[in-house]
Subunit: 345 residues, 2 copies
Amino acid sequence: MKIAVDAMGGDNAPAVVVEGVERARDRFADVEFDLYGDSKLVQPLINDSTRINLIETTEVIEMGEEPVRAIRKKKDSSIVRAATAVKEGQADAFFSAGNTGAILAAGLFIVGRIKGIDRPGLTSILPIAKPGSDRKNFVYLDSGANAEIKEKNMLQFAELGRFYAENVLQVENPRVALLNNGAEEDKGDRLHKEVHQQLKAEEDLNFVGNVEASELLAGKADVIVSDGWTANAALKATEGTAKMVLLLIKNGIENGGLRAKLGYLFLKPVFKKIAKLMGTSTYGGAVLLGLKAPVVKTHGSTDALAVENTIAQIRTMISSGVIEKTVKYFGQVQSEESMDKPDKN
Amino acid sequence: MKIAVDAMGGDNAPAVVVEGVERARDRFADVEFDLYGDSKLVQPLINDSTRINLIETTEVIEMGEEPVRAIRKKKDSSIVRAATAVKEGQADAFFSAGNTGAILAAGLFIVGRIKGIDRPGLTSILPIAKPGSDRKNFVYLDSGANAEIKEKNMLQFAELGRFYAENVLQVENPRVALLNNGAEEDKGDRLHKEVHQQLKAEEDLNFVGNVEASELLAGKADVIVSDGWTANAALKATEGTAKMVLLLIKNGIENGGLRAKLGYLFLKPVFKKIAKLMGTSTYGGAVLLGLKAPVVKTHGSTDALAVENTIAQIRTMISSGVIEKTVKYFGQVQSEESMDKPDKN
């Protein structure tokens, strides 16, 4: 399999991208890489070019640029070229740590949606932080901060998340939940009440009801579906608070004298484990689900470990055939629907 | 001043309510209490009836009841009777730890809105959890999980929050921010973009821009305004994550052998400080701002300390004259608006 990599995306690119790619290449003998970028900058960073091809591009989409305009104008940018390679079948997946909006736009407009999907969902793989939980992580979508979402988008997210959990995380009959402002089924605004009922009615889904934002990481489900707006607020608050509590502890230790510093030494393994659990490097990148190929991003401040882990994730996506299974499912749903309503389409 | 107290509300009522009231009575010589409840249950709990009057009621609104129906049907419930006493001027404020929906409904339909306020805002006083911050807490509204909110509601929340911060928290020229999905002013859906512009245009507000859910407790503002839906998700995620991180640490200590237990002993003061900072007992209750009198609730699982602190907060609300100042401001805004548009109303 071959992955098209934007070598220029991210705060520490191309260095950490190349380092992560080399680590993944050493780990997986079945993966080949096409690196899109400025060869003057990228070439000197490559230690061993086994299964790494460098493809020259002359433009870079910067972090602050307006995404849609950028992908239209900068045809020779590393993002546009790598996405185009996937569209044309020269690579199996697209990876970048660059401008999020531009990656999403390139995925949507260049790689393209699966037939039957109205809107792709930005999907994060998050840790389950409940002590003693069997499962280590879960699927969370849409975290793209999209406002003005419709019921059918959220139902499609549920199916997309289910396919991902089954095939990539290897969860049998994944539990699907709806992020809502209360546990009971009559909670929520009109949209969330309606989506709850529709998810419940969906026979092929193992719908387990609502989860509240307070229990995001509590392991109540393998897939948590949300509108992009609420998902973004809940995820940011969760990440921000975890960091803040650890910062308060750190501050307490620094100002707590010798006694606190001794305590820190003794508790160091505990803190390290929690920092690893909550760390963004461990779980790979965010996937734009609902596209014809894996389109995966990591955050701009990514390190080589996160790049390596994200490539491992992309490799599992490709080898599991999750996209093909999703295409087949939505193709069937579409043809059933067009049989039900022959006057439509 | 006199506070009408629902003695029957809360998981541990009437015991913790009576205990908290007695503690507050001992602390504040200028406060008198009317306790509404079942005298057979409440009377035996009162150690000293100085400035505590017991008023017999025969009904209780339970936690699970449909709020609006309950306050209409149970005319002799402790909630309805206490709220009615405030409406009729027999008490200056209403306090309960009971059914949240019923307290809000009693506030809205019995105590009544200030003229010029379209919708009251459920207001929490939250801790600032940034090490070294000058200020200890901030005003957060609307956290009532109300969906389908309008621009004008959020503008009114900003003014209500400003009056509260100025008068009750004694913050000079309080910084007001909007909870949004990005820091830049062009972020957000249509509603949040529009509210941002209107807050910016409001001359009497010290508007400092957007804050993200990741920075809810970071002390970026003295008042954070939000639609009820997003506010609820961000607050729940923040509280849930703080608890979860502390639980992970606890679990790590329990499973970390002697070394971890020693570490815990040394770090105990640090953990205690953080638990106190994040604890719900410290900051008093949630206020339904925009009503003609203070209507304040604490969570159902409240303890006597939270009851005592909430009464301290109500006392400051009454003595600061925050309600009177708010009434005056919105009265002026209304008469200015009716001069601007003489054909309206």
